[in-house]
């Protein structure tokens, strides 16, 4: 449990480690595509951590990175083919960023730092924690960007084909003259939102750290 919470808060891949920024900036213009992206990374991370931690003794030190990439690539391909078959709209929306999970530094980073060193159970827990942390961070950015950038929120659009429920395509949330702030929906808005969120996150962490020091 501690490992999971560690992955969500203390080592949050987006806000603290600042890893995997490419999908963070590119696919978060819609709430749905952000959490699906986070979920895909979670799945890939879980399986690759699991497999790598099982076979870590078999891999020679000199070729470990190609082997890790190969394992990660296998799972990414599986996820990509599954999405392409069942949720083609989402597959299209995520575009090139889905195959790029292969070189996502979160997945490779966790394989190098955790899966190749720790036990199978530890690696799985770490993958779950980091994956959930990444998903939450992406969802938060996607939520803020979509709600303020386009006034709508896409809860289930592409997924509704699989789940066989009615389309909840767009929900119009706010109706104020000051919105939408359409710059947030554009790529520059991604940088702004991420920067501000990292700033807020760090400010809170610093304040907490200072509080601890003072109480000690």
């Amino acid at each position: 449990m501690k490992t999971i919470i560690n992955g969500i808060i203390k080592e949050n891949p987006t806000f603290v480690l600042l890893l995997g920024l490419c999908p963070t900036l590119a696919v978060t213009n819609k709430f749905e595509s952000s959490y699906i992206m986070g979920f895909c990374v979670l799945v890939v991370l879980l399986f690759s951590n699991f497999v790598i931690s099982i076979i870590k003794k078999l891999i020679p030190e000199s070729v470990r990175i190609p082997v890790y990439i190969l394992i990660i690539g296998t799972f990414v391909t599986i996820v990509e083919l599954l999405l392409k078959e069942y949720v083609p709209t989402l597959h299209k929306a995520l575009g090139i960023y889905l195959p790029l999970i292969v070189v996502n530094c979160i997945v490779l980073g966790r394989a190098l730092t955790v899966a190749s060193k720790k036990s199978v159970g530890q690696s799985i827990l770490d993958a779950i924690g980091i994956g959930i942390g990444f998903t939450l961070a992406l969802s938060l950015i996607g939520f803020i960007r979509e709600i303020f950038g386009t006034n709508t929120i896409t809860l289930i659009d592409g997924l509704s084909e699989v789940l066989e429920i009615g389309k909840l395509k767009y929900i119009n949330v706010i109706n104020l003259p000051i919105f939408p702030i359409n710059i947030l929906a554009s790529p520059s808005g991604a940088f702004l939102t991420l920067g501000l969120l990292v700033g807020i996150f760090n400010a809170i962490r610093n304040r907490k750290g200072r509080g601890k020091l003072e109480s000690n």
């Binding site: 003259p177 000051i178 702030i181 359409n182 710059i183 702004l192 700033g199 400010a203």
Partner: protein
């Protein structure tokens, strides 16, 4: 980290001097504020175009903007920096938070909604100033950051409200600001299309032309410049070289087409160039401190402004070029401090600047065509193919739009347009044209197509679509398929 810390201007250590500088700056701005009050409040009131609220609206507008930035800064310092009481008071006294608000109000059009102004003020203070560490540490001019946000987010709302025109001008002047006129006119334009609608160049100098609140009057900007130079608040090099560079390049462009001295004068007197050069580019915090750095800063500002004005779809380039050059202040200061002992160190940058000036002047002068030389043929229009079956002609045509070409298939039967299908376009706002049923409207009102209004927010693309249809019709008539 300490030894890498770049000291930020102003360098004067005596606190009284900084406050005196700011006091002089305020005095230099007062005539401009009064002028904009007379132009946007008193004149419409006297001409009976507005009520009492409209009379004092320019002052309210400026006041709200100033209050927003001051309040935002107080709240930010109180909550995020945790300063209270006396500390808070000293901090606010020495951070001059009134200026971003004042400048923001002066560079925005009068038709900006109040909520947009307030959001602009908040963004200017927090993102433009406080996140960098407050007064003296900001890289970018805070007011321009706020203005950029307001213009990108609420540009559509502002132009539907009437853009830069105040309630008096909206009835008397049919076109928008002089510079957006340049963007709409294909090619360089003539005295009649550019200057005549607003009076003469004298009006440009006095400032009775449409434009943002504070930026129209070149006269009061120059008076402010003289006052600020005498009191040693600003560095005279930046504005003089900035304006001179723009003058030189546009003179080159103009003389290539045989246009007189009025053309470069028109370019430096219109838009926010004077105001931006004198009050924005010389901001002590965000401009170079070394003399050679300042010269280079002015040169590159001029070059960028010309590039933005001519080669991008946006009419004005002062704001963006100042923000762009703000990023390079550090590098320019480095070159400047090296060149202080050995001038040869900066020769490369000067060479680059001169080469760019010549290159851009020649390029723009050659690519833009003077209006009356084009023989009524639109250079942006092109017929890709046409398929003639008796009196029914299917055209595939392209027209240069906001970004890239718009390609369409137009079917004309017996002189009447039957269908228009847009095949390709790259404008991300093009959906607005489709949403407004603009194309159906063009077909419906094709007899009086010249009078169909363009759509605000996508003015350039909708104008392009309209022109495309007009050009196609003209070609149909010329070729004589109807007979």
């Amino acid at each position: 980290m300490k030894e890498f810390h770049l000291h930020t201007g102003p360098y004067i250590k005596d606190k009284n001097r900084t406050s005196k500088m700011m006091f002089h700056l305020l005095i230099a701005l007062i005539p401009i504020i009064i002028f904009s009050f007379i132009k946007n409040g008193v004149i419409p009131f006297v001409k009976d175009k507005t009520d009492f609220i409209g009379l004092i609206y320019p002052l309210i507008f400026i006041l709200i903007s100033c209050l927003t930035t001051i309040l935002t800064e107080i709240l930010y310092v109180r909550i995020c920096l945790g300063k209270k009481g006396h500390n808070l008071k000293t901090y606010i006294m020495h951070s001059y938070s009134i200026f971003p608000g004042l400048f923001l109000a002066l560079v925005l059009p009068i038709n900006t909604p109040i909520y947009a102004l307030i959001i602009g003020g908040i963004i200017a203070t927090i993102i433009g100033k406080m996140l960098y560490g407050g007064f003296g540490n900001n890289i970018f001019n805070p007011a321009l950051i706020g203005c950029l946000f307001v213009m990108t987010i609420y540009g559509g709302v502002i132009s539907t409200n009437g853009g830069y025109l105040n309630s008096y001008e909206i009835d008397t002047i049919s076109s928008a600001t002089p510079l957006s006129n340049v963007a709409l006119v294909d090619g360089i334009g003539t005295y009649n299309t550019l200057v005549r609608p607003y009076g003469s160049l004298w009006d440009f100098f006095l400032g009775t032309i449409p434009g943002a609140l504070g930026e129209t009057s070149a006269l009061f900007c120059i008076l402010g410049f003289i006052y600020l130079t005498i009191t040693k608040v600003i560095k005279w090099k930046i504005p003089v070289i900035y304006v001179a560079t723009v003058f030189a390049i546009t003179y080159m462009i103009g003389s290539m087409h045989g246009l007189g001295i009025w053309y470069p004068l028109f370019q430096i007197l219109s838009g926010g160039l004077m105001f931006g050069a004198i009050f924005m580019a010389t901001d002590p915090v965000t401009s170079p401190t070394t003399p050679i750095g300042q010269v280079l800063y002015g040169l590159f500002l001029g070059i960028l402004t010309v590039i933005f004005r001519y080669l991008t779809p946006y009419p004005e380039g002062v704001l963006t070029s100042i923000l762009t050059m703000n990023m390079f202040v550090f590098i320019l200061d480095r070159i400047g401090s090296k060149a202080r002992f050995n001038f040869n160190k900066s020769i490369l940058s000067f060479f680059l600047a001169w080469a760019l000036i010549l290159l851009i002047g020649c390029y723009i002068g050659n690519t833009f065509v003077k209006e009356d030389e084009t023989d009524n043929k639109d250079p942006n229009f092109e017929i890709v193919s046409k398929n003639v079956v008796d009196k029914v002609v299917t055209y595939t045509v392209t027209q240069k739009g906001f970004s890239g070409k718009i390609k369409a298939r137009i079917v004309i039967d017996d002189g009447l347009i039957k269908t228009i299908d847009i095949l390709e376009q790259n404008d991300s706002y093009f959906q607005k044209i489709i949403d407004a049923n603009y194309i159906d409207k063009l077909i419906r009102e094709q007899e009086t197509i010249e009078k169909v209004d363009t759509i605000s927010g996508v003015t350039i693309s909708s104008t392009a679509v309209k022109k495309m249809v007009i050009n196609t019709l003209a070609d149909y008539k010329e070729s004589g398929y109807a007979e």
